[in-house]
Amino acid sequence: MYSSNNNRAPMMLKISAATGLLFLHLPILLIFIYAFTTEEKTYQWPPPGFTLKWFAVTWGRSDVWEALGLSVKVASISTVIALVMGTLCAAAVSRSKFFGRETISLLVILPIALPGIITGIALRSAFNLAEIPFSFWTIILGHATFCVVVIYNNAVARFRRISSSLIHASMDLGANGFQTFRYVILPNIATSLLAGGMLAFALSFDEVIVTTFTAGQQTTLPIWMLEELVRPRQRPVTNVVAMVVVLVTFIPILGAYYLTRNDDQIAGHGK
């Protein structure tokens, strides 16, 4: 390797990087193909034929709609709670130095740093001890807890970029704390909050491990999916749902990328 051909990658590196990316993407592409298969009983490859029939069948399935509705509700409420908590935390941690700052960051990151099953079993055992019945709200409690970190990570980076003289300038011009937040801070962090919110939504929408511990009879879409994986009932419907879920999760990811692409750190590292 000599410096002159420095900006050209060695062939081996190119091939292994490309293979790695293919490894990441081919299975997802496969989902797209299976959604159109005519085969009902097995996972036969190549598919014996292609049809759009299963989209119509899925469309008519009320259990899928109910699960989807519940997931959207859970994800929306969890995201809103996480937005408030995460923004407050980010504001406090980035704007001032105080004793215990590191502890706060750790506390926020912990629910995602520890395996999901720990968060799940811990919440379940606490609900048991406190004799809280499982419900829609116990799912929210769990989801909001691990969504805080996504908002926090996005917001803290943006908060750090707002120079303190900007806030001073606003106050100097007559804006009190709330007006400064409303007119100066919020417009500057809005896109990062939106990006964080999208990611938090995606995270909650997809979560299954914690949910299995905190849900009672409720079936979120991932739980519906899990049941189909363990005990398949109508495989083609699962195929269609899988494809739709992939497409739906692409939207917030691309959106979050677009909103934060000019930041030093693009959103999404903190899943």
């Binding site: 990441l24 989902i31 036969q44 406090a92 395996p115 720990i118 079993i121 001890l129 997809d206 299954v208």
Partner: protein, 314 residues
Amino acid sequence: MISSAIYAPQRSGSVSVFSDYCWRNPRMFLFLLLLPPVLWLGIIYLGSLFSLLLQSFYSIDEFTGLIKHEFTLKTYRELLHPANLDIVVRTVSMAIIVTIAAAIIAFPIAYYAARYARGKWKVFFYLGVMLPLWSSYLVKIYAWKLILAKEGILNWFLAKLHLTWLLESVLSIPIIGGNSLSVSYIGTCLVFLYVWLPFMILPLQAALERVPVKLLEASSDLGSKSQQTFRHVLLPLAMPGLIAGSIFTFSLTLGDYIIPQIIGSSRLFIGQAVYSHQGIAGNIPLAAAFSIVPIIIMAFYLWMAKRQGAFDVL
């Protein structure tokens, strides 16, 4: 031109009174900012972890099947039962193998993206890792169920290449083999690897972005072969990224119970043990004690990682 009354600052309303109060008492303001999130995380999350810890010191009455709310180490003794220790060893070995494999596959992608990709290729690589990372976890597992199925694409592909004999001989290896890929450890490992790979690529890429190209040039100028450059320059500099990534792959593998349940043999992993003990058996103390294991392993791992400076690239 001296200020007129119209432009005098407004000084009324409870909102502005509160704002003034916060301005005069910045400590109080900070406290108010932190109060909701700290209460939320402190009560719901730390409270739960604490109750988990507490329950691991309870035990279950063998006759009634009810939890005895008395302090005992009996449950931890039960954890040391060979069958349970097996589960721990199995899970930790799997986590180690998955982590190493992920590091090997992640490195070229991360290195290429960090060093050579520019402009739209950079975006391509970025989204190329981001989209699989954020794609539904269950859908990804489902995809592998399709791939590894007997009638699935992998077997079809191997049959086309007349390599079915190879797969069969691999599957006939004891322990890691099995009836088919979808019920073998190889299958479990593949799915773990697939699902957690992006978590290794991102921090590794972040660490590699920070390696100055000059340093690599300096090394090759000094006569290092590319292997030597890799071993003595690139790898040590990438270490914090590798460790950061391994925190994810390790932690996620330790705590997962869905992947081995869907793709794998019937032998349990820690996550499955936790799930089944708390669920069907209702033995929450044992489930709690089981889940303390990954916490201790991760605490040790995080402590090591912190010493290596891995948190700077997170």
